[in-house]
Amino acid sequence: MATNPVPDHVPPEMVRDFSLFTSPGMPPTPNGDPHAAVACVHDGPPIFYSRYNTQDGRGTWVITRAADQRKVLQDAETFSSHRSIFSSILGENWPTIPLELDPPAHGVFRSLLNPLLSPKRVLALEPAVRERAVELIERIAASGTSCDAMKDFAFPFAVSTFLRFLGLPDDRLDTFVGWGKDLLHGDDKERPVAARTIVAFIDELAAMRRQEAVDDFMTFIVQAQVEGRRLTDTQVRGIGVLVFVAGLDTVAAAIGFDLAYLARNLKDQQLLRSEPDRIPLATEELLRAYPPIQLIRVATKDIDFEGAPIRRGDYVSCATMIANRDPAEFECPNTIDLEREDNRHAAFGYGPHRCLGSHLARREIVVGLEEWLARIPAFRIKPGTAPITSGGHVFGIENLILDWS
């Protein structure tokens, strides 16, 4: 796998045998801890080159320090987001919006979308989010003393929350989860099929809302005006596809890793159960410890960045799970301390692309943990089972069989 040639401008001593896809702990691993596994990069140089570090097997520079990632991500002029990750799966070239646009075009779309997911709006969405969490957890509590927390809670909770936001009914939830799985964790055959299915679905939804307006997100998008003009079909598709994909896996993965941590650390679990006021602060620490995403930028010009000769067109990786274990930024980064203060973690990125859904995601995790701990007694990983974790572009946890018998 790691046979990509190293570009001529990369000094051989800056190449390290590390990859978010192939290093130990990255392929699907029973009882794995992929976040702890990547923390080992901090034993080495702050910036290095990895020969195999994207889904399609490209080499990237790897920025390990939080302060350097902040510099890269705040400087969109030098480090561009324009890379068509999604459409390139289809052999096409259009950006998901706003993710793959650079300023100033990026800002125009962010301003359009920001109010829909602002802290104020999220406050208004919260009662419905909580209702959904309670409904799912009560069903679990009533049906026994064990469950697969991913299948029975994390996925349906996260996915139905954003389906409601998009204005879609819950009845096809399993289908959507399946598309998301194939897209993010599938092989070279499954990914294009899933991508094409999602595009067709979004296009069809947009066409329906153009014909008949309802009070939902897609209607808002097809009616929106930017600089005095309606959005083009490609822009509508770019937004729809992104919001669909962004909410599918991330929140579910975060909740899964959080519950797995609590299942293995009964003292912390009991602390949060008896003092639920601590959950918002604890959620920040769990977001620091278990963030799911690697960010990629493309250099727009030659630059010597903190000693690395980055050349135009090079890929630059800012993995949030690496920044969040940076000892220069966090005291004892590998210790999970649910009372940690001043926790300026990178889970939602830095710079203009800061996660648009971050306020909703935070509330979902807090509400999910609150309602779970209020209804499920001391739980642990069911003996004889093992959660399967994986690294990659989006870190994931496949199954989480919990037991409270």
Binding site: R70, Q74, R110, S111, N114, P115, S118, P119, K120, P280, E341, D342, N343, R344, H345, A346, F348, Y350, G351, P352, R354, S358, H359
Partner: protein, 70 residues
């Protein structure tokens, strides 16, 4: 005490407002309002907590006496 707001660096994480909503006011998009913030007496603790919570380093504490006299 005063908080120097570098509005251009704000990316709307809203962590400051989560610490102290009355000190750090956000606009409808969820980004901080422009202009430095004079911190009232007795509010130094939540104000400095809020400033220290900004992931973008957009908020800076100014404890110089000049800032207090102003």
């Amino acid at each position: 005490m005063r908080i120097i707001v570098q509005k251009a660096k704000c990316q709307g994480h809203a962590r400051c407002a989560a610490q102290a909503p009355d000190i750090f006011k956000l606009d409808d998009e969820g980004y901080i309002l422009p202009g430095d913030i004079e911190v009232a007496e007795g509010e130094e603790l939540p104000a400095s907590r809020g400033a220290r919570s900004c992931p973008e380093r957009a908020l800076e504490l100014d404890r110089t006496p000049a800032a207090r006299v102003e």
